[in-house]
Amino acid sequence: MTEAFDLEFNNINPEHKEVDGIEILVQMAKQGKIDPWNIDIIDVTDKYLTHLFQSKAQNLRLTGRTLLFASILLKLKSNILEGVELSDFEPQVEEPDLEFDDDTLDYDSEYIPTNNVVSIDEVLQRRTSVRLNRNRVVTLRDLIRQLEFYEMLDKKQSLRNAHERAKRRVKNYSNLSPEDIINLAHDEYIEKGVQRLRANLEEILNRQDKIELNELTLLGMDKISAYISLLFLTAESNYDLVQDEFYSDLYVIKREEVSDTDKIIAANVLQDSVDTVVNMVDNLAEGQNGTVEIKD
């Protein structure tokens, strides 16, 4: 506030002092350079007097005006405290050219103060609820929490999947007759499957890019024999088994140019397949003692 005053006072042209004083103050209040609710009248008056002495424009009329300005300020302040608008006070002051105000509408001049209505200058009220950084600030704790949460989900999901797979397995095997089980491991049985697949796959894969393992049961083979036959077939000819992720659908495709990554994928699938077969055999062995009912 003090700086603002110094600046304004220094800008005063002594020749025109008679008309300048109060306008400057009102102007400054309007521009928010001084707080009309909290003006230090003594400070303002002292400064003004000092300035008058310095400028050597010692003029009784000016000194008198200074005191007048101070009392007008005081009146302004008390008026404001009473609830009368600053704008109501303006017409009593000689208006300088307010170049910054380009209003085609002079709301203020037609404004009649009432208790319930505000002036257009006051329609917009600054909110105090504004916050910087409104975007979610994610802390490391959030990050960890999120990771933990999704990991928990993952685990639950894979547990459930494993459970369901186990149930399905038991169900499938329970449909097998002992003969089927014995035949499963029999070379001829596998050879028959391989032949059947070889005869059909070529034709199928000419029509489409890939076929899902389950669809092969349409050829009249059960899923396990189809699978085992496929493993043999991929080893001896140009078919591949692919799977986007573990436990998802397994597809048969025609092998094309083999890149390194494909080899890795194939190796993974093969490993997975071997594991699956081992598991199956384990389960079957278990089943023969327990869950699988063997017919006489």
Binding site: K30, D103, L124, R126, T128, S129
Partner: protein, 171 residues
Amino acid sequence: MEQLKSRIEAVLFTTAKVLHIKDIAEILEEEPDKVEEALLELIMDYSSRDGALEIDDEDGYILQVKEEHMDIVEKLCPVELKPPVLKTLTVIALKEPIRQSYLKELRSNAYEHVQELLDKGLISRTKDKNGRSFNIRTTPKFAEYFKLKGDLRSLMKSDINKLLATSTTED
């Protein structure tokens, strides 16, 4: 009840905008009546406490800094608009959506003001249906920084409307 109060407080703090009972009830999946009751208690808690924050309940509920600390808000989130631009913004806020051509009749230098307000993200401008003029309205950012104050309905009906009516020849 204490628990619900806390959850309402969390909602107000996080959204940082004016919410109505039904908004809060929806977010928290609670009965509006229960929300209202707890909210009123929360408002009382805030007002009995001697802190910097309060819940404003004028036309919706919002958690905000008390008027007396406005200087801090202004310092940290300044909106630097000169008085004439602010007036143009006021006219837009009162009349939105307002056609740019109409605004130009009401306010000299409207075009520059509109540019500045667009740059600051306080208003948005879209072509109207016939493609002949632009429609201007305030943005969510505006709502974040400003609110319309006081008895607006009587204001709209009386002074402003008269003022706007006398100053325009056509709409």
